[in-house]
Amino acid sequence: MGRRTSGRGKPGASSQALGTVHMIPGIQAHGYRLRNGLEVWLLPDASVPVVSYQTWFRVGSADEMRGKTGLAHLLEHLMFKSTENRSQGEFDRTVESCGGETNAATWTDFTFYHDEIPYTELDTVMALEADRMSHLRLDEAQVASEKDVVANERRLTVDNDVDGAAREALYALAFGAHPYGWPTIGSMEDIEGFTVKDCEDFYVRNYSPNNAVVVIAGRFSVGEALRGLDVHYGDKPAVVHGARAKRGAKPISGSRAERIKLPTHTERLLLGYHCHPGAHRMHATWLVLNELWFGGRSGRMFRHLVRETEAAVDADGFVTPFRQTGLFEICADAREGVSASRLLALMDEQMEATVNEDLDGETLERAKHRLELSHTVGFETAHGRAEEMGFMAAALDSPHLTSERMAQVRAVTARDVRKLVWDRLLARGRAVVMVTPS
């Protein structure tokens, strides 16, 4: 719970420097903290004609309560409605009249808003974002209409989508009562039940300068940006927040398995293993393992399941970069006539082989090169750079990781990978979801 307070000290031009992070050669991020606690990262680049303006709040679906799942996400939608100073639709109209685009996203540990604008419009968007950070105004009609939109989003991404429904089951199984176990979009029952007061309370509790990170990337000067931030955000009061709840996920003991029936022709297998938090240095080893198994067409697991045995249409892995214990997700879609049990047996063989066989240095290097490429490609756009910094700073409280993660990846050894597979995959429990045609 939080409550609004007056700012500590006089808000003004002074801000505390947080240092400079060298993200990749040629791209630096300069950090500051305003007096009211607003954290700011500035990534100037005079060579592009645009600016990406991102506001990250340190709140996500993990900060909800059971029975109110999906509230962080619904509020994200409502943030585009009206404020005390701007009428409904004015936000979108103003951004688009500048030629900009605006959108937002919510996940377990964050909610973020981004505006992609021509560089001449920085002040316009700064005023808009500062306004909705503390002056949102909601009414019954807006909330009712947006609940319908979100219900349709849920139908689109979960209820009528085999992958979405299967992943929802996997997370519930892997995390149980932990907040990571419920869907960010929320249950249909919870979505339908939200009131204006629910939304307002959540907003007041979580939206404040000292619970946010603003990232600006693109063509602007640091001095100009800091002056603008001071003008638009400087008088906003900080809010006293309790520390973010840190509830460890209950370890998976043995194998938690579930078979679900969905409208599909073929079987599907999803596995989930608890992995290290996103800020932990071992996260890099998980990334390397995932690349070794599922990176491109030469990844061990992909190659074996899709090309060599022709048991699967596709096989993929993903390491969630969660603030707390995360999930290493594996998903494989069976070809016709192949069972999910068969896929599981094939995967288990490959896991055993990863531990028992020598991992040659060249294979490991290839995986690292692929990760380096993905990492570098992510920095091509102002939006990509800002998103990397915003996520690391807001969700993981670790802005320096934008420069250190690749060094951590490069330091991973074959022994590290084998040990990880043994310690965290073979010797511990897992969540298993098998999808069969209904």
């Binding site: 004609p49 139908r155 689109l156 409208p263 022709h265 249409v313 290839r366």
Partner: protein, 443 residues
């Protein structure tokens, strides 16, 4: 290098010694190079050899150069920090790559041989075909992809634009290795391709590499476009793609659009932007903001050598489907008859002008615009005239262009959803007949 070295705004172009045109968009801000090897022959030529033949052919090419198996080729690309993919559309096929710039020569040495002299082993063909058939069958789980296939079939009928680029399980099964080899050899001529590089590379360095690694591409002219104009369909046809256990429908409403090089293309683009191209557009406001009927909704204008589709899309709940289709049709009728208001027109035009920097803010995006121009036989750098073309569009011109090109009566309505929708949809179709297909007809 041969030919004239032309320096445009943000790009340079020249030809290799054997006559392959190439373009470089230099930008050293990030240590990457993007590569596009584009051949001006795509899936529009597949009607004689089976839908999906071009895509299967170029994925087969991607398996590696002669003398190297797929596993070794993939390992080599990975070692370089390179990602290589294939893209096929109706008008072209391209091999795309991105690589850490320090390894550009290593990439080009394999990429060049792979395109010029691919391995094309029968064993890879059969394996790849089985994989692609499985992927197409898996589309049965993707409602939007299925609905798009059904819409294009309904609108274009037997024309090649009605065939899915990736083919169907049946059409892929009919393609032979020899047909695929012919597909490759008939496309690869110096005059029928263009190469683009963007990023941390110079024109001189690119020319040296291309002369070295694409020097054996046979000389020959650009191939003629293989198909004529589609006819579309007459009347308002309604198709129901019956998929059980749906609580939500996918709705597609559209008609024939226009050629990419039509002088009216930009006027219609402005009008469409105001109708369904932004978050504040008419469609979004009426369907999502006022009624909450769909999470997303939009309209779009295809661009190709022949007339492609103009299309609206939304995804309402089953209960709201018929009302949503009716609303979309009414909005279309009103927009087509009256056009945008002065304010809406000015807003749409300003949006297109001011948002243009996002289409050109990276060298890879500029390269893709240049490659599109080459495919459309436009002068390279035509994208630099975009602002001028949009500025010249008046409200009257936009309205007339919409009225001229988009039919008031010949519309395709395709709904993928619950079979029970058939009866209520009958009120929308000309003559009251709703064509019904099972969803797996389209894979």
């Amino acid at each position: 290098m041969n030919g004239t070295c032309v320096q445009g705004q943000g790009f340079e172009t020249a030809s290799t010694d054997n006559g392959i045109r190439f373009v470089v968009a230099p930008d050293a801000s990030v240590p990457l190079v993007h590569v596009r090897l584009v051949v001006f022959s795509g899936s529009a030529a597949d009607s004689d050899r089976g839908a999906g033949c071009s895509y299967l052919t170029w994925r087969w090419v991607r398996c590696g150069p002669e003398g190297v198996d797929e596993e070794r080729a993939n390992a080599y690309f990975d070692r370089l920090g390179a990602r290589v993919s294939v893209n096929v559309s109706s008008s072209y096929a391209s091999v795309n790559a991105v690589v850490l710039s320090r390894n550009l020569e290593g990439l080009m040495s394999v990429l060049g041989t792979m395109v010029e002299r691919p391995a094309l082993r029968d064993v890879d063909f059969e394996k790849l075909r089985r994989e692609m058939v499985a992927q197409v069958r898996a589309l049965a789980d993707d409602d939007r992809a299925l609905g798009t296939r059904a819409f294009r079939r309904a609108l274009f009928g037997d024309h090649a634009y009605g065939d899915p680029v990736a083919g169907t399980a049946a059409s892929l099964s009919g393609v032979t290795p020899d047909e695929a080899r012919t597909c490759h050899s008939r496309a690869l001529f110096t005059g029928n391709m263009i190469v683009g590089l963007a990023g941390d590379v110079t024109l001189g360095a690119a020319g040296t590499l291309l002369n070295r690694y694409l020097g054996r591409v046979p000389e020959g002219p650009r191939q003629p476009y293989p198909v004529g104009e589609p006819k579309g369909r007459t009347g308002r046809g309604v198709t129901l793609v019956d998929k059980p256990e749906r609580s939500q429908s996918q709705v597609f409403v559209g008609t024939l659009g226009m050629r990419a090089r039509d002088p009216d293309y930009h006027p219609v683009l402005v009008a469409n932007t105001g109708f369904g191209g932004t978050f504040t557009s008419i469609l979004m406001q009426e369907v999502r903001e006022k009624r909450g009927w769909s999470y997303g909704t939009s309209s779009g204008l295809g661009s190709d050598e022949r007339r492609d589709a103009w299309l609206m899309w939304s995804a309402p709940s089953t209960a709201d489907t018929v009302d949503c289709v009716t609303l979309m049709l009414n909005l279309y009728d009103r927009w087509r008859a009256r056009g945008l208001s002065e304010d809406q027109h000015a807003f749409a035009r300003a949006y297109l002008l001011k948002s243009r920097p996002f289409d050109v803010d990276t060298c890879a995006k500029r390269l893709d615009l240049l490659m599109d121009e080459a495919v459309r036989r436009e002068p390279l750098g035509a994208y630099l005239e975009f602002e001028q073309r949009i500025e010249s569009v008046t409200r009257t011109r936009a309205q007339k262009a919409v009225a001229k090109h988009l039919s008031p009566t010949d519309l395709c309505v395709v709904v993928l959803g619950d079979g029970a929708l058939r009866s209520p949809l009958e009120g929308i179709a000309t003559g009251g007949a709703v064509e019904r297909f099972s969803f797996d007809t389209f894979v």
